[in-house]
Symmetry: C5
Subunit: 306 residues, 5 copies
């Protein structure tokens, strides 16, 4: 595995981490078609848990099989595959060593009655399954946010001590947030910043809208003359909110949508200095060949070729 | 104990489990009249705890004695006997080695004021009683679901580390679910899928009705043109929702009912690709000879002879 | 200490317990005037905690002294003395080896605002005080029942591992139960059965009334033609609900009442196959000589002489 | 340190305690001007925590300094000094060995929104600070009472295992208690008894009024013909409720009041057989010389000289 | 590092602490331009977590970078830099040994729905990052105050055992406090005193207003004739409430305001005997040169030169 200067520079920003964690970050950064570029595409498959199997896999029934996703991520040349305990257990031996995996530690589900998640796996599960990282979701704003932060603290401390990387999904939700506020620019940047403050290595947030939720934040943006008119500009502000670019930030794709829209998102992430995409339903709900073609195009966008 | 190719193939799907756990799965799959066929019948006796002794055992008073159930499961040639701490303690020495046992770790009772269960035994109890597996119930949808998932996580992680198999009863209940929704096709498949995602080895669900609870799931089924008109077709969808058949799925019989209805259920399970039945009140509330005759008939159905 | 065949037969029912636990059960069964008969009388003194010192001890002021109760139990030839941490600590050295003791681990009190109990002692306290068993109370039906079951699980598992016996007070209370239901026949048998399912060695319940609380249970009794018209018949049903007599069941006496009534209770317990009485206020609130005479009479009843 | 026969007799009542704990009880009993008499005066200073510094120390500003209290207790010839973590840390080295100290483990404060206390120190803190005992407060009657009992259980078990003595402040408060009930005779005796049942070595309660809160307790007192008309008689009933005098009981002085009233209290405690006083605000809120004179007078009262 | 007599005297007040903790207090007291004077200025940067990145850093965008704050604290000759887990991890290696750091263990955020904080780091994190101290916030008055105290207890006990110093932010908030009461003189002195009672080494409070919240406290101040008319007098009362000056007390600056106002605050702190300032937004939200000039002036004030 070749570690480029660009990747070494990224790793140098993680100055308090142990060599084991840095090696796992390097594995993710130096795998697949974007290896060594500092950009990454991750395939996340926790939608079966979160939305149920029919809504997630019936559109492309091959996706009912956990092996399908491992193979898709490998064949599309992605950087990593993220999924839940059961899904990884079902393929971790067959695909051992073929692609870095991220064990999603907590999840919600369609029938949850609170804005909370359950812890469904452990750091030791990630170790025995050979994962490069653990993944965790927090809901800033939710009545359960402080508890989720504390659960994350315990998971992250153990993961770092055991040489794993830590990926944090930071999704504002509930509490005093308006519906528009959950994807607002200021809230999204704050959510990304919280992830950095909490010690995440890789931060996953949604692409922010141009809505501004908090008057004080709006004033701060206006006073500082910060341009937030384009998606790329908003990505740039999120990246800056992650320790001025010292932390890897990737953006999620959301529900299935048209390919052109996905490409536009990728260009905005690239132009704003984001580190890449985490893209699930938009790939595995399409036929395999179509998904691979789309991912190839996204790779080209991140390489500046499209 | 002969482990057939068919069983070896099933075991190979549990690719992240340790040899101890696989050996215990093999013990269950290779015991009784269905040994080696990949099918199984389990006798579960937790109704005394859940519904009280009179409702459970007065119809057939011999069943007040814990030894009765061990002997029934052995004489009927079943694959395993599942019960609670006290019930297994009362016969574990007398019947040691004669049939695989599953220690049901948690239970509810008729007087519970919430849709929750209490943890009444430990993984170490299962070890000292020589069990092949632990059993656990979750209530997806309940206000207590996330807590139950987390309790399961701890039990399952410990059980796997100690070489036991893990059987998960996944029973949707409460919260935002309608009464019909608790046995709906989409909800049942989701419940089975959650069990697989949570890392269960053997998944126990109820036979789903043709009701569809969630509009988004209904749309997904319709869009994908999935046939759900027969019980067998619905079983097939549940099996597919369990990692495309990579996990063992058994179906419960419910309250006492007519023998023909039970045989119809078994044929649907067989034809839909399910792995078998878990059948309690319909056996131990009948006179012993009648119960054994019925179980013999179910065995024949699973063998394709009836 | 002579262990009779009858006692050996009882011990053989505890087939999953370690020799240490069986030895402690034998100590209780083979002490006092009923030694070796399979019957037992236990003196419980937790009323000071539960109802306060004035209501408990002012009727017979000698009973303010913890030594009084040790001596009473010894002089009356009882099988065991059960009390709380402080009460046992105050006499454990003076009376070491003279009578088996049971450390009551949890208790409620007159000013409790919920139907719950506090854990006031540990299994290790029982070990250091030389006790033969720990005692624990559950309130089936209460909003706190599931928590109490889980606390009991931890206590019982530790006690069994450390060679102690486990005595479980199972007192239905609160929740959806009617006031009459708390002592109903069906509820009492269910409560006793829950204690057996939870793994108790000795089960303590109240003598059941002829009220039936749950329609489904009533139907089951009627359908099975079970006679519940006499107190002895109701005792018999409780005994049968405890694994068909595989577990020791003792019955409590309740508030102070006339001697004849107490003797009638004992005869019903004897005739119904119960293992004995646990009798507190009816002894220590009487003058010592009167109490000893009464206990002598109860011993004679259990021996079939009165 | 001379241990008198009288003290040896008291120690013999603590028959289940280890030599380390007895030695610490002996240290308290054999220090100061009341050494060897079985009587004791303790200086408690947790009012800064409970009521704030201005209300506690502004009346005598020297008392802002933690050293002041150590020196006061030493110079007045008291048996022990009880205070909080920070207060003891601030003088434990300077005054090491000069007076037994009691680390108050939990406290409430003026701004608390519930009738509960926070645990602010540990048993190990008491060990490293060279304390003779830990102190703990319970609020029988409060909605938090069961939790406080359970917290006490853990603290007391650890303290006893580590050779410390355990002092329990038992203050009825809240829940179903009336305001007058919080200092009622029956409630106070019950509170003292609960402390004994919970395993405390030294019990601290308030002097009870002649109010009777619970009709059943009132009836018990009346039926037994117990005289409660004088303060001394009420002290005697509290002492009897503490295992018939087998446990040390001290009484608190409450808010600042006239000296004569304090002397009357001490005489009642002495005449009723109580073991002494725990007296804070009435000493440290007076000028030092005045406080020492008052304490000298109280010593004389306990010695029967005043 | 030169430890002056003045600092040795301060250290001698921490008489129960281990040499490791004293050495870390000495590091803070003997670093920067105020080294050895007993005065200190600390730069705290947890506003990104508490208020979000835009409101905190947009006014001076260089401050988005964690390295900026390390360098600012070093170049301004401050005594210590306090920040959160992620912020310290991002610079701990680059600036190792250049300035004492304080790891802020818990934090709130703008979207919190309760007056509580989440624990986001551990004492072991502080150890591995080479910190001199841990920082913690309590909210006296809040419904969560008792829980926060208990969390602090655990953190402080572990920190002291591992040779770290403990800094406690004591901010009255919520519950029964009025809005004016949160900064009232009596409440502030009580909050500072609670921090001392809880065992903090360095106490951080807000400068108190002349409002008096609690009638009993007001009476106590009036009765004792304590002058509270000037800011310096109020600082003096806070210092006295911290064990009569035995504990280090620093005061926070609050939201950004004019330089003269800040200098007035510093003079009041100095004249009242406080130990210094903890000043965040008023420095890092100004241009770097302006901030350094301001801090130089504050240093001069504490040295008595301005």
């Amino acid at each position: 595995m070749k570690v480029t200067k660009l990747v070494k520079n990224i790793l140098s920003k993680y100055e308090s981490d142990c060599p084991g964690t840095k090696a796992n970050l390097a594995r993710i950064l130096c795998t697949g078609k974007l290896a060594g570029t500092g950009k990454m595409i991750i395939l996340p498959v926790d939608q079966g848990f979160e939305h149920g199997p029919a809504r997630s896999f019936a559109p492309n029934p091959d996706a009912y099989d956990p092996h399908y996703h491992y193979q898709l991520a490998i064949d599309a040349g992605l950087n990593a595959y993220a999924s839940t305990l059961g899904m990884l257990e079902a393929g971790a031996d067959t695909f051992a060593g073929q692609i870095p995996t991220i064990l999603k530690i907590n999840s919600s589900n369609s029938w949850a009655t609170t804005k909370d998640q359950s812890l469904n796996a452990s750091v030791d599960d990630a170790i025995r399954l050979g994962c490069a990282a653990v993944g965790f979701t927090i809901y800033p704003g939710s009545e359960h946010a402080l508890d989720l932060f504390e659960e994350f603290r315990a998971v992250a401390e153990e993961a770092k001590a055991k040489g794993l990387a830590v990926v944090l999904w930071s999704y504002p939700r509930g509490g005093n947030l308006s519906s528009a506020g959950e994807t607002a620019m200021d809230v999204g940047a704050y959510a990304a910043h919280l992830a950095a403050e909490l010690g995440a290595h890789i931060i996953k947030v949604k692409l922010p809208s141009d809505h501004l939720e908090q008057p004080e934040a709006k004033k701060a943006f206006v006073d500082a003359g910060i341009d937030l008119s384009s998606q790329a500009a908003r990505v740039r502000e999120v990246v800056r909110s992650c320790f001025n670019g010292r932390r890897i930030v990737v953006f999620s794709g959301g529900a299935k949508k048209g390919a052109d829209s996905i490409y536009d998102d990728a260009r905005a992430i690239r132009d704003g200095g984001g580190n890449g995409s985490i893209i699930g339903r938009n790939t595995f709900q399409r036929p395999r060949e179509e998904a691979i073609a789309m991912l190839t195009q996204i790779v080209d966008i991140y390489k500046g070729k499209a």
